[in-house]
């Protein structure tokens, strides 16, 4: 299928009749995923958004329910989001991240209705990366600049128009008025894909075992030394999913709210007694790496990183996960006794 670039605003406007449409829009000098007012606001010629579209399905702060104590008892109001959504122009790494989050919010122990409701009502229209950035390393984690994991449609920028690859039935049904792609278009698309090469990679082979065996290695003392313990990395990560539930109350009512949490914060593991099992940046930073490259692999058989590179770009002190993994790879793997 073919979607010409000049038709995109109209296409998005028509989608708005049936869906909440989210797309990258300009904010300062970068782009962010926002619900768009007009189709023309969508910026598809972008590197990647500052923060991931994760927040659309799993908001940073989410009211689960609100309550009010009245004379005749407690009134409850559940906050269910039933709106149909389209995330338009999502990068393949971010689309893949939803398949990782699915494992957290939908497994044999627990199904999270808030996330899953949105997930089932959301169509993901991806845009391939003609020019991956130097901080991208998706191919090292099983993804790629034109990977279709998690997507319903994938747009490939071939100049004046996008070649649209149909991945799912849901996606196909959206394309009512698109013409078929010709041989020439298909040739251009495969050329574009061939030219989209990544400049960096990481080696995660055997990293889980290395981490298993080196929990107490002195490497953690110096690896985390320059980390200032903020949540910039975790909050810009498409796969980080830890949350905290709080009640925000005023007078006789209030709301139960789910907020993103960050394992880099001291409060994350602070016990009621005042004891903190992860008392310093060392333990917190180690946990962040362990969770992504060891614990999550153990439980879900997949690494909780898609190689989007946001943590590298957003870190105030230039902590670079690629360097850290390389250091860990350099460790002697002690045999498991």
């Amino acid at each position: 299928m073919i979607l010409t670039k000049k038709d995109v605003p109209n296409f998005l406007d028509s989608l708005k009749n049936n869906y909440q449409v989210f797309a990258p829009v300009k904010q300062d000098h970068y782009t962010e995923f926002k619900e768009i007012e007009n189709g023309a606001d969508a910026v598809l010629d972008y590197s990647n958004t500052k923060t991931p579209p994760k927040k659309i399905l799993f908001p940073q702060s989410e009211k689960l329910y609100c309550y009010k104590v009245e004379e005749n008892g407690v009134q409850m109001e559940e906050k269910a989001d039933e709106q149909q959504k389209v995330i338009f122009g999502i990068r393949p790494c971010d689309a893949k991240s939803f398949t990782i989050l699915d494992k957290v919010f939908d497994n044999n122990k627990y199904q999270d209705p808030y996330y899953l409701n949105r997930r089932k009502n959301t169509i993901l229209v991806g845009i391939g990366c003609n020019a991956p950035e130097s901080t991208c390393f998706c191919t090292s984690l099983g993804g790629g600049p034109f990977d279709t994991t998690g997507l319903d449609l994938l747009l490939v920028d071939i100049g004046d128009c996008y070649l649209v690859e149909v991945i799912s039935e849901k996606g196909k049904n959206m394309l009512t008025s698109c013409k078929e792609a010709g041989e020439e278009d298909k040739k251009k698309a495969s050329q574009v894909k061939e030219n989209a090469t990544l400049t960096t990679s990481i080696n995660i082979e055997g990293i889980k075992e290395k981490l298993d065996n080196n929990f107490y290695n002195e490497i953690w003392d110096y690896i985390s030394e320059k980390c200032i313990g903020c949540g910039s990395c975790t909050f810009s990560c498409p796969t980080c999913h830890c949350f905290d539930i709080v009640d925000e109350t005023a007078d006789s009512g209030g709301c139960r709210i789910r907020n993103w949490d960050s394992c880099m914060f001291p409060l994350f593991t602070l016990h009621g007694s005042g004891h903190n099992p992860r008392p310093s940046n060392k333990e917190r930073f180690r946990n962040r790496i362990m969770h992504k490259f060891n614990y999550f692999v153990e439980t879900n058989d997949i690494t909780a990183c898609v190689g989007c590179g946001r943590c590298i770009k957003n870190c105030p002190v230039n902590m670079d996960i690629r360097e850290i993994l390389e250091e860990i790879q350099g460790l002697e793997a002690r045999s498991v006794s």
């Binding site: 908001p59 940073q60 702060s61 200032i228 949540g231 810009s236």
Partner: protein, 318 residues
């Protein structure tokens, strides 16, 4: 720049070889363009990793508290002033520090560069005397350095360290007067406009606390935002009022202590204009009490002394 790099490396090497310090904290090459990154050097053979350039933007005073080692640290004007301010608060012992002083010509603000070149990836950069050359995939652009310097650096009047054990280069010339024109201009705007500006800015906040954690002066054992009993502030980032409240309290707590190094604004991943807030408080304390935080070892911190004739223009009624 290269001569400063060499001098810093030599100094660090000597300090480590002679066991005068256990570690030297400075900057090494970062992993992305326009970035240097803090580094801890313990082996004199690693001293040649150290570098000095326009990308050494972090305030290294942030790494000095609660260390039981002798530390050599590379200091710009602002780092040295934060060290002075921390010493006055009994957080650092001068004898445990060896300050390698570097005259600073200012640091480059990546977001200003990005605003000029747009959403394109910077592949390579080159700096000379007064300009920065940026290479992207399909363009090369030369930008005047003063167009992309951090605001805090452009307004800085302590480019040279105020205390040091050695200076690795000749001092640079200082701005002769303190420029608060930007603040005065903002103060004159109607209250509604000022409020709207900050609401707009703080709506970008993701509450990662990078601003707080990058600040050498933010060292409360428990920050008020982390307190759960009582819960002073909501934890939700989508509540802009709470985001604004967080910044207001953060900045007020830094009044008379903040050296206006700009580390908070540099650390913000969302590029929120925090400098306007910190500089406003910096202006107020400087003008009202005629003292600049960390400028010298003698002055008592403005807010920890009291004189009967202290100005009180903030009182609504006297």
């Amino acid at each position: 720049m290269q001569s400063i790099t060499t001098a810093v490396q030599n100094s660090a090497k000597k300090l480590l070889e002679e066991n005068k310090v256990d570690v030297v904290i400075g900057f090494k090459k970062g992993t992305i363009p326009l970035r240097s990154t803090p580094v801890f050097i313990r082996d004199s053979n690693d001293a040649d990793k150290l570098e000095w350039n326009y990308y050494c933007e972090n305030n290294l005073a942030n790494y000095l508290r609660n260390k039981d080692q002798k530390i050599g640290v590379v200091v710009k004007g602002c780092d040295s002033r934060s060290i002075v301010a921390l010493m006055k608060e009994n957080q650092l012992t001068r004898d445990n520090l060896y300050l390698i002083g570097v005259p600073c010509s200012g640091m480059i603000d990546r977001k200003k560069v990005n605003r000029i070149i747009g959403d394109k990836e910077i592949l390579e950069t080159n700096c000379n005397e007064d300009s920065l050359i940026i290479k992207t995939k399909d363009s090369e652009q030369t930008i005047k350095l003063n167009e992309v310097m951090h605001n805090s650096c452009l307004k800085c009047n302590h480019k040279n360290p105020v205390i040091y054990d050695e200076m690795v280069a000749e001092p640079v010339s200082e701005n002769s007067n303190t420029d608060f024109s930007e603040i005065k201009e903002f103060e004159e705007k109607p209250a509604e406009e000022r409020k709207n500006f900050f609401i707009e800015e703080l709506s970008k906040c993701i509450r990662c606390y990078a601003c707080r954690n990058s600040c050498p002066m933010c060292y409360c054992q428990e920050c008020f935002v982390d307190s759960t009993n009582p819960e002073w502030i909501g934890k939700s980032a989508e509540n802009v009022q709470d985001n604004l409240f967080f910044q207001a309290v953060r900045v007020f707590h830094l009044a008379g202590r903040c050296v206006d190094c700009g580390a908070c604004e540099r650390a913000c991943p969302m590029d929120i204009n925090l400098g306007l807030l910190t500089r406003k408080l910096y202006k107020d304390t400087t003008e009202m009490f005629n003292t600049e935080a960390g400028a010298n070892l003698e002055d008592a911190p403005a807010l920890s002394t009291y004189n009967m004739d202290d100005p009180q223009p903030f009182l609504l009624k006297e």
